[in-house]
C-alpha cells in the first residue's frame, strides 16, 4: 500500500494502529446501557439471527454477504442458542 507520508508529516498527522482492545469491557457495558434516544441504537446492528447450531452454516453464508435476498443490509449475524432470555 502506498501512503502519502509526506502529506502526513507536513500536516502532523499521526498514524496509529489499533489491534483488538484492552480494558474496554466495563466502559463498553456503560455505553450500551445508556439507551439515549438521541444516541446510536446498538440493537439495530444485529440484522440477522440464526437459532441453534443447526442453522450455523446458513449463518456463516449470510455473514459473507452484504445484502440478503430481500435486499436488506447484512451488518451483524448472530448465532443464538438456548432458550429465550429469562
Amino acid at each position: 500500500m502506498t501512503l502519502p507520508l509526506g502529506a502526513a508529516a507536513l500536516r502532523e498527522v499521526d498514524l496509529r494502529g489499533v489491534f483488538r482492545y484492552s480494558n474496554t469491557y466495563p466502559e463498553a457495558v456503560e455505553l450500551v446501557s445508556r439507551h439515549d434516544p438521541d444516541g446510536p441504537d446498538f440493537t439495530k446492528l444485529v440484522t440477522h439471527r440464526y437459532k441453534g447450531f443447526e442453522q450455523a452454516e446458513k449463518a456463516f453464508q449470510m455473514a459473507g454477504r452484504t445484502k440478503d435476498d430481500d435486499g436488506k443490509l447484512v451488518i451483524k449475524v448472530v448465532i443464538e442458542a438456548g432458550e429465550d432470555e429469562p
Partner: protein, 327 residues
Amino acid sequence: MIRSLSQIQHHVQHNLQHRDQSQRPPRGQRPQDRLFVPSHTPHQHPLIDLQETRTLPPPSSNELQVAIRATGLCGSDLHYYTHGRNGDFVVREPLSLGHESAGIVTSVGSSVSGFSVGDKVALEVGQPCSDCARCKEGRYNLCKGMRFRSSAKSFPHFQGTLQERINHPAEWCYKLPKDVSLEVGALLEPLGVALHAVRRAGLEKGASVLVFGAGAVGLLCAAAAKLRGAGHVTIADIDQGRVEFAVKNKFADACYTVPMKRGSTTEENLEIAKETASTIGELKLSGNQTVGEVDAAFECTGVPACVQASIYVCWCRLLRHILAHFV
C-alpha cells in the same frame, strides 16, 4: 457431553477424535453436556461434519461455566470458515469459531465471588500472559503470549465460543445489566475495538471525526466517537445503503457515498484520494458549516484509497488506521 461448532480438515478430525477418546474421563465424573463445532474447508475438502461432541469438565475454582446464548460472526470467523486460515494462521486441529459472545452463568467456581447462577455475562475471550512488559503496562492486547478464543495463532488452539457451554475465567466475564440483551452483550467485543480506537485517538470534546467504512467496526467506531463526545461524525462508504443506515440509526451525523474510481498509476490513485478528501471536506453540515478538515479519521476498510484519503482529510491531528483483524 457438549456440542461445539468447529472447522477442520478431515485427517485432523480423526486425530482429534482419537485423542479425545484417550483423554476422556470415566462417565459420571463430568456433567453430560453438548458442544458444537463447524468442520468446513470447502476449497480443500468437501463439507465433513458440522458438529462434534466433547466433554466439558466442571469449572475450575476461578472459572464460571457459561451457557453461550449469542455469538456474533466476525470477518476472521468467516476467513477460517471459508479458507481454513486467517492470514498466516492456519487451522491445525478442529477449531470452534466465535469470539463475540454473551451467555448465562450456569455454575460458579469455588473461589469466585460476585457472580451467581443466572447472571447475564459478556465474555472477553483473549487471555494474555499477565506477566510480560506489555501486560504490565496495561496493553495486554499486544501480549505475545495471548491466547484468543477461535484464533489459530496459538496451538493447541483456544476454542471459540460456538459451544453450548464453556468454562471461562471469572475475571474475564462482565455482568450485563438486566436491560441489555445478550445479543447486544455479544456486540461488546467489536465495540471494544471501536472504543480502543477512540481512546487511541485521544479525541477531545467536540472533535470532528470521519469514519471510512460502514461495516460493523466502522459503525461502532462512529458510535463510540459520538458517545465519547465527538462534536460531529461523518461516515463514508462505497455502499449508499450502509451510510444511510448509519445516519438513520444515529451512528453518524452525516454521510458520504464514495464513488468507485480507480486510477492506473500510484499518482493517479493519490489524486483520486485527494479529490475524495476534498469532496468530503465540502459536505454541508447543519447551518452553513462544512465538514472541512477533520480532527481524526478512523479507517475501517483497509482499502488503500481510503487510507490515503484519510491522510488528506486530517489536519494537524490524528489518523487512526483501524486494524481490527483477529490474528
